[in-house]
Amino acid sequence: MAKRDRLSGNEAVAIALRQINPDVFPAFPITPSTEIPQYFASFVANGQVDTEFIPVESEHSSMSAAIGASAAGARSLTATSSCGLAYMWEELYIAASNRLPLALALVNRALSGPININCDHSDSMGARDSGWIQMYAENNQEAYDNMVQAYRISEHRDVRLPIMICQDGFITSHAVENIELLEDEEVKKFVGEYNPENYLLNPECPMAVGPYSITDYYMEAKRNQAEGMRHVSQVVLDVAKEFESLSGRAYGLFEEYRMEDAERAVVMIGSAAGTTKDAVDRLREQGEKVGLIKIRLYRPFPAAELAEALKNVKAVAIMDRSEGYTNHGGPLGADVMSALYRAHADALAVNYIYGLGGRDVRVQDMEHVFEALKQMIKEGDAGETYRYLGLRE
């Protein structure tokens, strides 16, 4: 039986974690993710979970301890934002290369500097090549649902890779929304027991983790990681299907919103998709053929599926909530354009940088983007493909 509630995104993720009852949770505070360990600490204090909560002295140590715990055979996780993620950068690669299925509740926040506590995706985008699975949410419900599904994907024997469950700082982490929670027992049953095959605390067979590996083996290790990543999309879809039968909420690799006959489309990640849906609805009412694709799974990148979804589109705007400093756009722009190129797509494509450091994106901003796409189609040319949206001139 689903329970209706009104929760912030942080609280929703914390409740998902209480229901999962992980073994080890090392954490260090950083705005805007602080509330997740804070709520969780109260669950620990009130005996609602069995988890060993380790309040460490830095994010580098929170990820290091999560890695130690996971290697030891425990289900572990941490939570962070922005500079906290940057500080644990080295460890992200180590978690992934050790094939450790652990979770990170990431609340997206701009990287310094200037120091800024508000949302953009520069933190997680910088970690996109670290070997972690990355999954993003539009709203609090999705943040909760993704967290419930996280370990099923990460621990799958064909995958065994760490997973980053991302949501937008303040916009979803602190805003309170209506949400449907699953029953504790349902979540417990859905997530299941964690029984790793090899782990440090296996009395039957000791294990060594974290070898020195030189040129004769390093490349094979990396290729094996890629092999795990190749299985992620199918596992994500399988887990989503099972989750749908439990919750009634359907998930895929990305969400297609009013894309059936769309000639113009926006591709984006995160909470601004909600705003864009309003813009799409307004324009659809005026008979405009516009749609939205919202990426849920960003790593691995669903390139072929995305190109297929965009195959009848005449113009597409790819929205990046982080800079790439390539002088031609952001990371999502590069990924989508590469997918279109491989699929020999004809769509005109333009890449916008928007919403940096929490810069608000409004419905009329997104209407402006769709208008720009219309202009591109009319002129038969994309013009400047690297643009900024909502910049103070």
């Binding site: 060993e52 140590s61 290091s64």
Partner: protein
């Protein structure tokens, strides 16, 4: 705690031969003898900061470790074992594990005094039930003898080279054992390879079986970095102790205990002379450097005696 040398030495090796550490390496001697502190039948998870020890004992696909072992990175051996120990408590609580495990992590002085200092301090302050062992050879030996905050004053290292206007490292070494003692953890000790290893064996067992956090600082000479005749390692260690450069002490529940006081304290130059890294101190005209070194050793020794007298 009773001690039987023969029994201790006859325990099975937990670091198998065939690893790639240098002949005569102090780090390896430290590890093998610390692990003799484990009771037979007890299992262990060994942690390790990046360094010579890690790259030479766990070169894929070979491992020299008989116990479960985890290397994570250079600066986080403390935090990594915190997580392993947390997992142990969680699995015990959930009834998923019966065996008794002990947690011991090794780091060189670079990974302990310097880059891993914060992670170590955190693990000690949180009082995890683990032992952090620093095998202190007084420089970043793995990367080629660069100075660390454990490097003694005037040592010739590749980042404090002796030159026409340089006498080696200009600063004193950090007193890490005292800093860790200031964390008020249950057990801190300093030792090295003397007295047929009795001091090291007993302190290791005590550290491993004291509930809560424990820290061992072991002077572990590096023949490459210190430039002495490799077979002379035991003499070097003995001189370190007899000159009071490296005193043997422990801090048990906040109480400082001096474990050994030489009958006749030898001048520190006896310890420095056999080491190539201090060769320049014995050049004519540099007597004042030796005097300054001796003065610092004396000051620290008096300070330690005062702490232990309270």
């Amino acid at each position: 705690m009773s001690y039987n040398f023969k029994e201790t030495m006859n325990k099975p090796e937990r670091l198998a031969p065939g690893h790639r550490m240098c002949a005569g390496c102090g780090g390896t001697i430290a590890v093998r003898n610390v692990l003799r502190g484990l009771h037979e039948g007890d299992k262990a998870v060994i942690g390790n900061a990046t360094g010579c020890l890690e790259v030479s004992t766990f070169t894929y696909p070979y491992t020299a470790w008989e116990d479960s072992y985890i290397h994570n990175a250079f600066e986080n051996a403390g935090a990594t074992l915190s997580g392993v120990e947390g997992a142990y408590r969680a699995l015990k609580k959930k009834g998923k594990l019966d065996a008794t495990y002990k947690f011991i992590t090794f780091g060189g002085d670079g990974g302990t005094y310097d880059i891993g200092f914060q992670s170590l301090s955190g693990a000690m302050e949180r009082n995890h039930d683990l032992v952090y062992v620093c095998y202190d050879n007084g420089a970043y030996m793995n990367t080629g003898i660069q100075r660390s905050s454990a490097t003694p004053m005037y040592a010739d290292t590749t980042t404090t080279p002796v030159g026409s206007v340089s006498n080696g490292k200009p600063q004193n070494r950090k007193d890490l054992a005292a800093i860790i003692a200031a964390h008020d953890i249950p057990y801190v000790a300093q030792t090295t390879f003397v007295q047929n290893f009795k001091d090291l064996h007993m302190k290791s067992e005590k550290a491993i079986y004291t509930p809560g956090a424990a820290f061992l600082n072991i002077m572990a000479p590096c023949p490459r970095g210190w430039r002495y005749n490799t077979p002379d390692i035991m003499d070097i260690c003995r001189l370190g102790v007899e000159t009071c450069y490296w005193p043997l002490f422990e801090v048990v529940e906040g109480k400082w205990v001096l474990n050994y006081e030489p009958k006749k304290k030898l001048p520190v130059e006896d310890f420095l002379r056999p080491q190539g890294r201090f060769k320049h101190l014995f050049k004519k005209g540099n007597e004042y450097l030796l005097e300054a070194f001796q003065k610092e050793v004396d000051r620290r020794w008096e300070d330690l005696k005062f702490r232990c007298s309270r």
